[in-house]
């Protein structure tokens, strides 16, 4: 117990006021005998007990009793805990996370895998002076609980509640915001260098996963860290889940790439042991006289300690320690204490091995390890998914791509470790040889697609709108500049709901439509999406892209057999005819325009609703027609400034229409980041809901009092 430096006897623990005895059941008494407990129901509680030295948890829907966790409000409360206390704390923390996420939904198994790591980190280090940077950040739920946000965990991922990822604005303990992956080492190095320049003396810890290590930025950071030699700790959380989500349709994904096999080789090295055994026996045989020989042998063996794959990291300049059992708090605390006490370690990489979803059997057994869940029943892990009459846009996209690929052998699919999220898992099942998962490497995915296109194939790059930002230079330089026919399917365009601004696809219209050769289009419903997939497949002389949102379809009539027909490029369509005011929508926001027009009918106002379909090339004839026959033109898009509205404005001015009597207004996402919340709340806040559109029309028509009805 010396390692945690406690002088407090176990009996005089900080939780004196809790009279609940430490659970010490030798028998399997599942039904709690705690008559004094205030729980309702007939005793089916989440019980945490210690059996044969290991903590066990039996999950139920009731809130778990967590006497030790209740005393922790700040990492400083963890300093005096003994090793046994820390293990109890970890068990209680697990139960709390399962209970909390079962009620709110969110990311479950990644948090469960790092419970021991978080407990050990906060026990040894002192945030907020020390900085802990979580890569991606969806595993930071235990971190949030231990740093005083436990009372608000029921608001996580909800409007005005806690963010689902670390956020600097939310707490001083969140050192760096995350959401996209592989940034933690870079940020950590920056903070370490700043500390050195300012002459301070705190610790910097970056936690990164094996999946995030497939991105180039991690290596860029490690390379620089090795060169600068600044003191920092990188914790490689290896849970062998190198793809995300962690399943194909048939089962867990096999790890992607050579990195995972290198990591598993490090874990399984037996040659080293044999060599050390041999070395030991030689030393024994040689006896006392041969000090020098023994020392040489020892040094040789020591040099081999970091052999068999860990030279990977040593070559980059990081000192490698591991592998370590990531679920043993004792081991973790011992290592952290030692490294903390070393005066000049330089950058150190601690390789810990964890299991995703550890401690919660339904997560351990699930194909995707229950990575991202909606509300579920803690006892069984069964999720309460709402049934919807329509499928998600992602599924419609996957279906139509499969249909296209059946007819055209050259179509291939590429994604960056998001097989489930982009729907390409279905494509993979159907055409296993034509689907490529490159790991978390968007830059490589884009240039890889460019290479495929250069040789005559038809690559469909399915990357989320916000993740494609990472590969933007490749889109410009490798695809658009060379005019290669790569098709980009940008899912999660526009506002995305609970994930918040880190995943928000606000900028793709702007950054795609400014490229000279790119065809930019957006479907207003799922049938249009299918047609656009066919259109993109047909465009073979230039790059093209289309964007679609998160969410389910509206129930449009799908084309026969899910096979779309190519649209005429640069042609939009008019949905409803009216007078005086025209609403020109781009993308799924057209549905909001339609609803607005229905609302306005009750006020005896009939507006025209048009679906632009293409941002580039613009349907100039349609715009001219609308300008000629209406007094006011309102363009609506779920994107930032510089997108569709901007292109329309440019055309209107070039063609001289803006010199005329037309009133033109553009509705777009406001010039700020929209916080996480439900999609309905987000769209209200951004001013693009049907009510807002109707209100804009009314104010333009100079009927401001009625506009207030809609605010």
């Amino acid at each position: 117990m010396a390692f945690c430096g406690t002088f407090v006897q176990p009996s005089v623990s900080p939780c004196i006021k809790y009279i609940v005895p430490r659970p010490n059941h030798g028998c399997r008494n599942k039904f709690s005998v705690r008559a004094s407990a205030s729980g309702s129901g007939d005793g089916e509680r989440t019980i945490i007990w210690k059996e044969k030295g290991k903590w066990k948890i039996k999950y139920s829907a009731e809130k778990p009793e967590t006497p030790l966790l209740d005393t922790i409000n700040h990492p400083i409360h963890m300093k005096n805990l003994t090793a046994q206390d820390l293990e109890q704390l970890a068990a209680e923390l697990r139960a709390d996370i399962v209970h909390s996420v079962s009620n709110t939904g969110g990311h479950l198994s990644s948090s469960l895998g790092v419970v021991e790591l978080t407990v050990a980190l906060h026990h040894v280090f002192d945030t907020p002076e020390d900085k802990i940077i979580w890569d991606v950040g969806h595993q930071a739920y235990p971190h949030k609980i231990l740093t005083g946000r436990r009372p608000r965990m029921h608001t996580i991922r909800k409007a005005s509640g806690l963010a689902g990822f670390p956020k600097r604005d939310e707490s001083v303990h969140d050192a760096f915001g995350a959401g996209h992956s592989s940034t933690s080492i870079s940020a950590g190095l920056g903070m370490a260098v700043a500390r050195d320049l300012l002459g301070k003396n705190n610790n910097i810890i970056s936690v990164i996963g094996d999946g995030a290590l497939t991105a180039g930025q991690a290596y860029e950071a490690m390379n620089n860290a090795g060169f600068l030699d600044s003191n920092m700790i990188v914790i490689l959380n290896d849970n062998k889940q190198v793809s995300l989500p962690t399943a194909t349709l048939d089962g867990p994904a096999t790890p992607v790439g050579a990195l995972s096999s290198a990591l598993s080789k490090i874990q399984a090295s037996t040659q080293l042991r044999k060599l050390r055994e041999a070395a030991k026996s030689i030393t024994k045989q040689l006896g006392d006289q041969t000090h020098q020989v023994a020392a040489k042998v020892d040094e040789y063996a020591r040099g081999l300690i970091s052999a068999s794959g860990s030279t990977f990291f040593e070559e980059l300049g990081l000192y490698y320690i591991g592998p370590v059992d990531g679920h043993s708090i004792e081991d973790l605390v011992a290592i952290f204490e030692r490294v903390k006490a070393t005066p000049a370690p330089g950058p150190v990489l601690i390789h810990i091995v964890t299991e995703k979803g550890k401690g919660y059997p339904p997560a351990e057994l699930a194909d995707d390890k229950m990575h991202g869940v909606v509300k579920f029943d803690p006892k069984t892990g069964h999720q309460f998914k709402t049934k919807s009459p329509t499928l998600s846009y992602t599924q419609y996209f996957a279906e139509s791509l499969i249909k296209e690929a059946e007819l055209d052998k050259k179509i291939v699919g590429i994604h960056a470790a998001m097989g489930g999220g982009t729907g390409l898992n279905y494509f993979q099942k159907r055409f296993p040889e034509r689907c490529f998962d490159v790991g978390i490497a968007e830059q490589h995915a884009v240039t890889f697609a460019a290479g495929l296109a250069a040789e005559g194939l038809k690559p469909f790059c399915a990357i989320y709108s916000s993740f494609l930002q990472r590969g933007y230079d490749q889109v410009v330089h490798d695809v658009d500049l060379q005019n290669l026919p790569v098709r980009f399917a940008m899912d999660r365009a526009g506002l995305v709901g609970a994930d918040g601004p880190t995943h928000c696809g606000a900028f793709d219209i702007t950054y795609m439509a400014c490229l000279p050769n790119m065809v930019v289009m957006a479907p207003s419903d799922e049938a249009e999406l299918m047609h656009m997939v066919a259109t993109a497949a047909a465009i073979d002389d230039r790059p093209s892209c289309f964007r679609f949102p998160r969410g389910n379809g509206i129930g449009a009539t799908l084309p026969l057999n899910n096979k779309g027909t190519p649209l005429e490029i640069g042609k939009g369509r008019i949905l409803t005819e009216g007078s005086r005011v025209a609403l020109l929508g781009y993308g799924s926001i057209v549905q909001q325009c339609r609803q607005a027009s229905e609302m306005l009918k009750e006020h005896d106002i009939y507006v025209t609703v048009a679906d632009a379909r293409f941002c580039k090339p613009l349907d100039t004839d349609l715009i001219r027609l609308l300008a000629k026959e209406h007094e006011m033109l309102i363009t609506v898009e779920e994107g930032s400034i510089g997108g569709f509205g901007s292109h329309v404005a440019h055309f209107l001015s070039l063609s001289g229409i803006l010199d005329g009597p037309l009133k033109w207004r553009a509705m777009m996402l406001p010039d700020r980041y929209i916080e996480h919340g439900s999609p309905e709340i987000q769209i209200e806040e951004s001013g693009l809901s049907s009510k807002n559109i109707a209100a804009t029309v009314l104010s333009l028509l100079e009927r401001p009092k009625e506009a207030l009805l809609f605010k």
């Binding site: 030699d229 003191n231 089962g251 096999t254 000192y319 081991d331 005066p343």
Partner: protein, 188 residues
């Protein structure tokens, strides 16, 4: 009482409830020497005969020896769901829990390529496919041994780190951070 007992006479850790056993009543009366003295996993339930017919890991999971990883995984999932203690019928809890542990062990061994190779080798060496106590000890021991190996490895790595750290910031050709550390130490 059936004992899978290969004990050395005089060893304290007999297999059957801790009482010393003088070896199996075999015809030759020879007690086979074994490489390891103690059997940490000697927890046979009294009177239970469920260990009598022992299956190889492959039989346990119900897959052929040439089973692929996918087959192993789906077999494991199926059986784990069936035998998990939380979902087992209460009257057969003990049996189901035992099965679950066995299935778990089978999966852990067969899903790891190096351990599976070792298991196949052992299986080829052994005459019977019996799930003997010694073999169980080997595979569980293997996990324990791997963890101990890891522990001793990182302990040495930590000592090496300390040694390197003491010599790091001295000498010529200092890294950027070494220079900063030196400046900081000089100033305070």
């Amino acid at each position: 009482m059936r004992c899978y007992g290969l004990t050395i006479p005089g060893s304290e850790r007999g297999l059957c409830g801790g009482r010393p056993v003088l070896g199996r009543p075999s015809g030759s009366g020879v007690v086979r020497p074994i490489s390891r003295v103690a059997f940490p996993r000697a927890k046979l339930r009294e009177g239970s005969n469920s260990m009598v017919v022992d299956l190889s890991f492959y039989d346990l999971l119900g897959i052929p020896e040439s089973g692929t990883l996918t087959e192993i995984k789906s077999a494991y999932k199926q059986l784990a769901r069936k035998y998990h203690p939380d979902v087992s019928p209460p009257d057969r809890l003990e049996e189901y829990t035992k099965r679950f542990i066995q299935v778990q062990e089978a999966y852990e061994t067969l899903s790891d390529p190096s351990r599976r190779a070792m298991y196949d080798r052992d299986m080829a060496k052994g005459i019977s496919f019996a799930f003997t106590a010694r073999r169980r000890y080997d595979y569980h021991h293997q996990v324990v041994e791997q963890r101990t190996e890891w522990k001793s490895r990182w302990q040495s790595q930590l000592s090496e780190l300390k040694r390197r750290s003491n010599g790091k910031d001295a000498g010529g050709n200092m890294s950027w951070a070494a220079r900063m550390r030196q400046q900081r130490d000089e100033s305070c």
